[in-house]
Subunit: 404 residues, 2 copies
Amino acid sequence: MTTTGFSRRALLGGAGAGLAVGAAGGALAHAAAVPATPSGPPALGAARVDWQGPHQAGITQPQQARVQLAAFDLAPTAGRAGLRGLLKEWSQTIARLTVGEPAGNHENQIALDAGPSSLTVTVGFGPSLFDKTGLADRRPAALAPLPAFPLDALDPARGDGDLWVQIGADDALVAFHALRVLQQQAAPAATVRWQMAGFARTPGATAEPMTGRNLMGQLDGTNNPKPTDPDFAAKVFATGPDWMAGGSYLVLRRIRMLLDDWENLPTDRQERVIGRRKSDGAPLSGGTERTAVDLAGQNPDGTLAIPADAHIRVAAPAANGGAAMLRRGFSYADGTLPDGSPDAGLLFLAFQADPARGFVPVQQKLARADGLSRFLRHEASGLYAVPPGVAGGEGYLGQALLEG
Amino acid sequence: MTTTGFSRRALLGGAGAGLAVGAAGGALAHAAAVPATPSGPPALGAARVDWQGPHQAGITQPQQARVQLAAFDLAPTAGRAGLRGLLKEWSQTIARLTVGEPAGNHENQIALDAGPSSLTVTVGFGPSLFDKTGLADRRPAALAPLPAFPLDALDPARGDGDLWVQIGADDALVAFHALRVLQQQAAPAATVRWQMAGFARTPGATAEPMTGRNLMGQLDGTNNPKPTDPDFAAKVFATGPDWMAGGSYLVLRRIRMLLDDWENLPTDRQERVIGRRKSDGAPLSGGTERTAVDLAGQNPDGTLAIPADAHIRVAAPAANGGAAMLRRGFSYADGTLPDGSPDAGLLFLAFQADPARGFVPVQQKLARADGLSRFLRHEASGLYAVPPGVAGGEGYLGQALLEG
């Protein structure tokens, strides 16, 4: 492979001119972390997210405008050595691409002129990886298969996988560039099992940073744990096994929305399905978006303000033994299905310290009792151990698993 | 359908604070047209493109970060009256959404907090529309079916259609919002035949506005006609039939790129396939991106600097009787095909005064002689008459056809 010696950083005024947004900046809303700099390089492209730290990037950071998700399966002959080589090269590549440098191998120049545009790359390990690499005894108990939930209609070809990658960026070409580089570098040790693309709001599309909307038109993420919450780390980051300390468990669900049915409901009925006002996200028990939900609150006629099957009542941590997770979902819109309905919905991504105290109890409750469920179809599912971040210069993702 | 009375404009400081980018601004690169305004509303969301004028918006304007394309088929019972009602409602909706107001009907609130984000909606008529509405005698000769080209592998279910819509915006939710509103308003007179999503660079991702790159990593669009060219209108806009004066003809091709094969070529071989340097787009005959191509230029060894089958030689207007068109293509990346290769490439969109003097002669040449053809698969095709813009307040798209 030829290389040009071209550094994207040079175009953007040198590395020092970039705006580094470290893990500690994750609590900042996106637009706030990317101020406009009219006299310098455009802030959107120049914004950088530090890939090193106790946790991988792409967990606590605000969602980017674009995401590429992919799962890879390891070749039967790859083994532990093949996995180690792949993770070393990917780690070096992540270090380069996230500061806007070209890849060392398989550089395709798709993103040549663009800055890193808040690129993050997050890597996870599926349960099947451990058997294939002789590491079954190190597989975390938290990676036990998810139970079957009522209403699930899962396509295994679009779920699971030995390795999982989340590539987020505020520019779609930057995200696709990274996907193709990682894919080419992985071959022949690993090949793509499935790939999905999603989107969230572009920074600057709203007058000020705010909670995002999903394709049902609802604000989505109001009650997400905040990095400033005292129990944030306990909810999101694992403490074990040893090699997973500082890591997290990611549950992926591709959730199609039955938008034709949903949009035919009057807005006030949509609001009772969710339990919040659609325009501003205020709970139907009163107040504004951030007002605590009053599950006992009543309407003037004595009925519950938040109906018994409202999504926010059924999903409330208080109703699920305190179960909580950090959701970082993206919308998807992949055209139309053969019946003409939209193949669109939510790429649900939730990071948590332990799925048994996060996604599993919540979804068991939702699948049975949530009024929203009749407008949703869970079509794909995955569970991955997301190892901790890389602390130093020479480390690589998964090193503590492979060399521990 | 309930409405909230909510005006997205209010969030963005009133209509006057928006930045209108009229058709005359089309020659400006996108980032230049959307300056940062750190003390006011974010420029990306507030940027507006005037929908009224001699031409529809979305032709001469720079590409937005996101596009939704869809074709609709008219119901057998709709007839001319159904089409008229649909086009009237769509025109009113386009007028509202492009200034950031909610739709009059079927408002879904997906884009409630966002500004118009340079939204444009462009509507075209497929050849099949004219028979269904008793207007066969008014179908333009320029809408004659495209000839079959060598190497075509077209899926009719993903091409053609009675009506065609291009929705561009710098925010993905704004684009999807408009798609769903138009789709719901169209029913039952017309239903979606196919829908595709594409992307281009996000404004600000590069240090300064520049030619975009496609998924092969090449600069794409260097020689596109510019609105400031003296013969621009003659190349792009139709003069007849009467109801099409100021309109344009749009050729759509979904062109999959064989990226695995392409990326396995060394960069210098890729450059000889195209005829330009990959890093900066300079022709291999010398100079920089904008330097005129010297088709007779030779290498030191006497061979042609631009190879005989190089894309820019075969596609050059001089080689095709001066044929030219305004390309406004978007990349797409729709996951992987069953064989594991990427389902990714170019949603080729080309506006022209007459396909017989634009796309047809160029593609006949390319399909036979272009070295790039072996890395491409044309998988879907469409040809549409894009009527002129709406001049006044009460007009609607296609009025001169339906009432002429």
